[in-house]
């Protein structure tokens, strides 16, 4: 990973982190109406995977979507407005926090249905292959979702048709309260890719460089017609499943603290940058300040935006011919 990209993607991670934390703040004020699933602790995955993607690629996200949205370049203000359910949000308040679509930046769809985007990404990859346009489709999904059959149907199809799709498993060890170790019959889900004849790679999902290197190779493979790749990124969410999750019945505070203190992807990347002489505390602070300013504006924008009018309810059911 070149230095410039490393620094840029560090900033992306900061943007992910602070955007989500600001959502939490707003959520605590009652301004976010839905389930808020924080990406906190997993930022390196989105930043690493999306680094070499372009707005012409097609990304299918999850219920834990903000990291992917930010990494593809979504605007804070419109995302914040959408999470407030306001008309200036990406989905005019219809879709909401779990259902943002920003096709102009390549983020086709985030999804309230766990696993719901996997097959769609395979379909988008089919479109890319059909048009020979060199684009790539990416499906993000969690360890819980990896138990869904559509993943295996999709891997098989992508493999026999050599589709340019990357299956990105964000294995954070839990599906709500259910530990992956009890729910999944194999330690590294990526091992399953072997049976479908595609490369299956497991990386430390909290290591931006490791994720990036694996993603970059997978994207290259896809763009040059070599077909799909399965990428498993091991990570940990350091906040509850959603805001309000009474999480301490299924994991300990110590475990969370350990991840926050010793394996946080943002901290690790910052240390790396500093060690490489690419970042100083001041520069870091300046970046964060700029992000916070943008966030304050985003909140103001969202606050000023109205709830959508009732006419939208029927307007967007069918596209008019």
């Amino acid at each position: 990973m070149e230095d410039a990209k490393l620094l840029r993607q560090y900033e992306v991670m900061l943007r992910e982190r602070y955007f989500v934390l600001e959502q939490c703040t707003q959520n605590a004020k009652g301004k976010i109406h839905g389930y808020l699933h924080c990406y906190t602790g997993e930022e390196a995955i989105a930043a690493g995977i999306c680094a070499d993607l372009t707005p012409k690629d097609t990304v299918f996200s999850t219920h834990r979507a903000e990291g992917h949205l930010v990494s593809m370049g979504a605007r804070f203000d419109r995302m914040m407005a959408e999470s407030f359910g306001r008309v200036d949000g990406y989905g005019k308040g219809l879709g909401g926090v779990m259902h943002m679509s920003v096709p102009e930046i390549g983020l086709v769809h985030s999804n309230g249905v766990v696993g719901g985007g996997i097959g769609l990404a395979v379909g988008a990859a089919l479109a890319h292959r059909y048009r020979k346009d060199g684009r790539v489709a990416v499906a993000f999904f969690g360890d819980g979702a990896s138990s869904h059959g559509v993943l295996y149907e999709g891997m098989n199809l992508a493999s026999v048709w050599k589709l340019p799709v990357i299956f990105v498993l964000e294995n954070n060890g839990f599906a709500i309260s259910s530990p992956a170790s009890k729910m999944i019959s194999v330690a590294d889900v990526a091992r399953r890719a072997d049976g479908f004849s595609l490369p299956g790679i497991t990386v430390d999902g909290n290591d931006l460089v490791a994720v990036y290197e694996a993603a970059s190779a997978a994207i290259r493979r896809a763009r040059t017609g070599e077909g799909p790749t399965f990428l498993e990124c091991k990570t940990y969410r350091t906040r509850g499943h959603n805001e309000g999750d009474p999480q301490w019945y299924y994991r300990t505070r110590e475990e969370v603290k350990d991840w926050e203190q010793n394996r946080d992807p943002v901290k690790r990347c910052k240390a790396l940058l500093i060690s490489k002489g690419l970042l100083t505390e001041e520069k870091d602070k300046a970046m964060i300040d700029a992000i916070k300013k943008e966030l304050a504006e985003a909140v103001a924008f969202a606050d000023a935006s109205l709830y959508p009018g009732e006419e939208y309810l029927e307007k967007y059911v069918w596209k008019e011919q």
């Binding site: 779990m98 259902h99 766990v114 138990s147 059959g149 599906a175 729910m183 709830y307 309810l313």
Partner: protein
């Protein structure tokens, strides 16, 4: 009698049946450790252990299949799909396997299972967690479909659903989970297919089920002040449908409205309208009114969520129309 929430009444019914019958067990996503995300099943894991309260992987197709297969092999699963929206991954097992095993085998293999799912609108959830799919299930011969509106009904119907020898889809409205009511203690069951007059009245009948029972009751209160006495008939089950109760009520009131929350077109209400106008055409003083949800999805924005489902005022206005209708123009 004890005051319980709708959710806890369901959990209690299941626990009592599990104590009574060792073949009854529970499975689904996060049903054990979490006690289900609405706390319906809280305490069951501690009492019955992991063999009988099974946290499954996140895989709806195999959850439904495993329920159906274990029922065919003689158990009585009470399986949960976390939201009805996600039954869509496993409908072969319901439509082609569970509902048809008794038929295809001409009485050799039955499928005594309950599939529990929360459904219905709710603000801030968006369109992937708010489908109402009762019309789909009710259309499938061989399935029974239950939609309780109160804690007592939820308990009594759940007991019957578990004891039933057929596959039962038990649809719980997510906005009712924390509503409270008196629930009989101990052995208490309500036969499937018996409607319940939740409020008697002589001027019109509001046929409803699930959450719209409460909308209807509130509208009836408004109307009472205007001198209109609405009868609120809670179907409780769409299949079997209590035709007799519907016809008896409308034969008396001679005016009827059918009320439900799902998108209006091709919803379950058309069945009831058809029944009433077919059987009571000569008696009706006005066309049967049908009020469903707007024919759209449930949006995230709370105002739009509220705007998509029938409101008390809308029901009251329709009732006034019905009462004021003149058979000849």
């Amino acid at each position: 009698m004890a005051e319980l929430t709708y959710g806890k009444a369901i959990g209690r019914a299941i626990a009592e049946e599990m104590r009574r019958d060792p073949d009854v067990f529970v499975m689904g996503e996060n049903v054990g450790t979490t006690g289900n995300i609405f706390k319906v099943l809280e305490g069951l894991l501690a009492e019955f252990g992991e063999e009988r309260v099974r946290d499954t992987p996140l895989a709806e197709e195999i959850i439904i299949n495993a329920a159906v297969g274990s029922a065919m092999a003689g158990l009585r699963p009470v399986a949960e799909i976390m939201y009805v929206d996600f039954t869509t991954f496993g409908l072969d097992a319901l439509l082609n396997q569970a509902s048809k095993s008794w038929f295809n085998s001409a009485g050799r293999v039955n499928c005594p299972m309950v599939l529990r799912c929360p459904q219905g609108a709710g603000p801030g959830r968006g369109s992937h967690h708010t489908n109402s799919l009762e019309a789909w299930f009710a259309h499938v011969p061989g399935l029974k479909v239950v939609l309780p509106a109160t804690p007592a009904d939820a308990k009594g119907l759940m007991v019957s659903a578990i004891r039933d020898d057929n596959p039962v889809v038990f649809l719980e409205h997510k906005q009712l989970y924390f509503t409270k009511g008196e629930v009989p203690d101990g052995e208490y069951s309500i036969p499937l297919g018996k409607a319940d007059v939740k409020r008697a009245g002589k001027d019109l009948t509001i046929v409803c089920y699930s959450i719209t029972v409460h909308t209807a009751l509130k509208a009836a209160e408004l109307l009472r002040k205007e001198g209109i006495e609405a009868e609120v008939l809670d179907l409780r089950c769409l299949m079997p449908l209590d035709r007799e109760a519907v016809l008896a009520s409308v034969a008396k009131t001679r005016r009827a409205m059918v009320l439900y929350e799902a998108p209006v077109h091709y919803g379950a209400g058309g069945e009831i309208v058809t029944l009433i106008q077919q059987e009571l055409f000569r008696d009706l003083r006005a066309p049967v009114r049908r009020i469903g949800g707007l024919h759209t999805h449930i949006a995230y924005a709370p105002n739009l969520c509220a705007a998509a489902v029938p409101t008390v005022e809308q029901v009251a206005a329709a009732a006034r129309d019905l009462v004021g209708y003149k058979r000849k123009a």
